[in-house]
Point group: C2
Chain length 204, copies 2
């Protein structure tokens, strides 16, 4: 009986192939960064809660900032997964795609533990342009902006840039505002109606 039981679920295997500490560090850091903020979480807290030690962190990541950037890259992947999932739900119907995305966004933002977008939060936490994590976030937001504009164009909007940017503002508005209201009735619930109204107004 080997210790690497292939029948057991992956996350319960005592020792899988390849680096394990790195993954635990990564996932622990991702959760802690999101819940408590990046600056509020020290490397000691990360390795402690991950059940590993500090040298393991620095064997897999050059620095804390490097770990932050890696986490944010994964967060970005998750964002695009959700975005594309809304696209796939309504092929060739950009309006329905965006409405679907905003509906999912509004639903997600309702949770009590919702803390908005980790990429947006990182921008707030790191005003310094030279920070690796900020660079990841900023590039992503530029990509998103272009994507929204293209989507507005596909809708046949009279002013695609204006509609795209308006959707951008709504998205960021949901991200930030959902963190500051504890009740179940957050402003973010109004976003679906708002985006529908905007689409109608900008698409003759």
């Amino acid at each position: 009986m080997t210790k690497n039981d292939a029948d057991a679920p992956l996350h319960l295997q005592p020792y899988g192939p390849g680096p394990r500490a790195a993954e635990k560090i990564f996932e622990t850091a991702r959760d802690l960064f999101y819940r408590e903020g990046i600056r509020a979480v020290g490397v000691d807290e990360i390795v402690s809660k991950a059940g590993v030690t500090k040298p393991s962190l620095y064997r897999s990541f050059k620095s804390k900032d490097d770990l932050v950037a890696a986490v944010l890259r994964e967060v970005e992947e998750g964002f695009w997964d959700r975005f594309k999932s809304a696209e796939d739900a309504f092929p060739d119907d950009p309006k329905a795609q965006m409405v679907a995305y905003f509906e999912g966004l509004a639903a997600r933002s309702g949770g009590a533990d919702y803390r908005g977008c980790a990429l947006s939060n990182a921008v707030v936490e790191y005003p310094d342009r030279s920070h690796a994590g900020r660079a990841v976030s900023q590039t992503h937001k530029q990509d998103l902006r272009e994507r929204l504009r293209a989507k507005a164009q596909a809708m046949g909007a009279s002013d695609p840039k204006a509609l795209g940017d308006a959707m951008m503002l709504l998205i960021e508005g949901v991200f930030t505002s959902s963190q500051m209201f504890d009740d179940d009735d957050k402003p973010a619930l109004a976003v679906v109606g708002a985006v529908k109204a905007l689409i109608t107004a900008y698409c003759p």
Copy 2:
């Protein structure tokens, strides 16, 4: 010749009446917090750049968090000043008032050193509800939300809550998004058109 030269400008008086160090600390902290983020600024940096010493800080403020809360309270005052100034510009015309506020907001958000709303940023920096600064921010945002809803009602909106919350999302969207784009052509510029479209859509 006394050292307290009444003819000299106030900020150059060697020793004025009452506490001087506290004001320098307060203003220095306000600027540093906004530019670099609250968590990124230590008390040593504050007193150093204010040209005073640390005990002076702790004689006027119980803790760093207390200083943060004090700064945020002043920031809130500034916000309402700008908000009311837009109201005063168009008495008895809530639509024009809000458009005026959003125009001012869009104009302010264009600057390269614009870092959004310090109150919103504080919420992002301090997920912990028990932080004094977060409490100031959160209460202010609740007040703003109610104010916006009342404004929507005064407009005769069909769904005042929805329009008020939609304006809330736009405002927060401008605050956050303006930090992540370095070019002059920020998404925030679309906010005036967006709010006009929303007002039109929600006010039959």
